[in-house]
Symmetry: C2
């Protein structure tokens, strides 16, 4: 299958590697507004040729868009306008409501699958692309009833081939869930990095930075080009999640301030439960059957 990938960074590049390795793509055309990135991707061998957008999607059976979500708003309608009748288009960004809204009346809406593979690292660019980035992770497919059955089937097949499970939900549900599980941790890490940097009189602290600090603040390294528009497009839910987080931080701080160390112990023990939750083996898949969130396991 001829695949064209627009955006050859961490996500587009990692996907290219997996689609080649699994044989899903026989030929991959790479499109990137940065000539440097495109040439690096070609040199790294995960694309077969470089093209501009117009040429690049002409013969594509599948177009994958993996660019910052603000750029998706420009590129996606353009791609839908240019593709042949039967071509499938998908998009990998972390927000979905604004994006699906922007093409909801497009004549080729059915060619499009709104997807969000929940995987990444704090690095960016073609050199950040790694094999099996997506293996064992979950991808979200949004508003699947708005996509054509064949297009949906192709994208499902692709995600399964690279080792992902699929969760189906509305783009509204995806934006809320992702706000808490991904956007909030990023905001928390950015603010933590700024809080600690603000103690400039004690810059010794960076020499002392141990594994705990490093892992908690890791996401603060994440690219502003990617994350700024995510916060912009998912503003309401991220603000909501930050409100909830700040409330819990204040509760933690106040228990100490008030010398209420029994309360503090309760808060720590409650937080400790995250271990069982995170280490559980897809234990919530069944629980969620009663909600309108459908989960699909291989």
């Amino acid at each position: 299958m001829n695949v064209t990938i627009i955006g050859l960074g961490l996500i587009g590049g990692s996907l290219a590697k997996d689609l080649k390795r699994t044989g899903f793509a026989t030929s991959i055309t790479g499109v990137d507004k940065s000539k440097e990135n495109a040439e690096e991707a070609l040199r790294l061998g995960f694309i077969d040729k470089i093209s501009n957008l117009e040429e690049g999607i002409k013969n594509a059976e599948l177009v994958i868009i993996a660019i910052p979500v603000d750029k998706v708003l420009e590129v996606l309608p353009k791609v839908l306008g240019l593709i042949p009748e039967g071509t499938t288009v998908t998009e990998m960004g972390s927000t979905k409501q604004v994006i699906v809204e922007s093409i909801k009346n497009h004549p080729k809406r059915k060619n499009f699958i709104a997807a969000h593979p929940m995987s990444g690292t704090e690095n960016s660019g073609p050199s950040a692309a790694i094999e099996e980035l997506f293996k064992g992770k979950i991808t979200i497919i949004c508003d699947q009833e708005d996509s054509g059955a064949q297009h949906l089937a192709l994208i499902e097949k692709m995600f399964h081939l690279i080792g992902m499970d699929i969760a189906y939900m509305t783009s509204d549900e995806q934006d809320l869930s992702t706000a808490f599980v991904s956007h909030l941790p990023h905001a928390a890490a950015y603010a933590l990095a700024n809080a600690v940097q603000a103690k400039e009189d004690r810059n010794i602290i960076f020499d002392l930075a141990s594994g705990g600090f490093r892992s908690t603040v890791r996401l603060a390294k994440s690219s502003s080009t990617m994350w700024h528009p995510i916060f912009q497009q998912n503003r309401d839910y991220v603000v909501e999640s930050l409100d909830v987080y700040i409330k819990h931080l204040k509760e933690f701080r106040d228990s100490m301030k008030n010398n209420d160390f029994d309360k503090l112990m309760k808060l720590i023990k409650k937080a400790n439960k995250i271990r069982g939750i995170l280490d559980g083996e897809n234990h919530l898949l069944i629980k969620n059957k009663e909600t309108n969130v459908k989960l699909y396991t291989k």
Copy 2:
């Protein structure tokens, strides 16, 4: 050298492994109030024999205390009271002011070195002990002028042998630095775990938990037995650090709330600088020469 380790969990156990491997300890006696833990340590082979506290320190040339910091307040004076004249005692906890205060007038104060090796994982117990846990990390030694020169030299040698650099500071400076670089990230992770668990109507989010969420919340798995007394003993500086963190979180949230996305971009880019700071090679060691914090590199 005969070494006795009191507390055979993550820190005591990992240290035992390294002290055996490097030949620093010829014999290690293990003391733990949990019979199970002591027996597990013996089975895992990182101690040579089990003893009670009184018997265990009788013939020790070095006693290492690696127990929760509230328990240190009971055990440390007792140990200092029982050891032979020339025995060195050190203690590995994450807080120092309350601890050194508790023995400041002890006749054997000079036998004691207040140390804090900045390394750990979110796991606990003898089975969590790993080799080279401390390699490449920094240990803090506090108020070194209150310790005898021979005792200090022995502890410095021990930390160098297991691959650590040493930062010297007062126990007050240690508690402030550690509040920001270790206690705050733990508090932030505990609160994040609670915030996300509070969204029970959306428990689907745990299935979606990707690497980013997992690393940010990792520390929330940390043992309450260890962390509750740390927050208690370092209450004032941790509250201060939480105030600073909440202020930065609000700034982040408000930039979004007010649609001030230029401000948001500035905050993200400022946070991004943490990459260079954390990836730098001990670049602050020289900068700190003008402060009263003395850093000592191998």
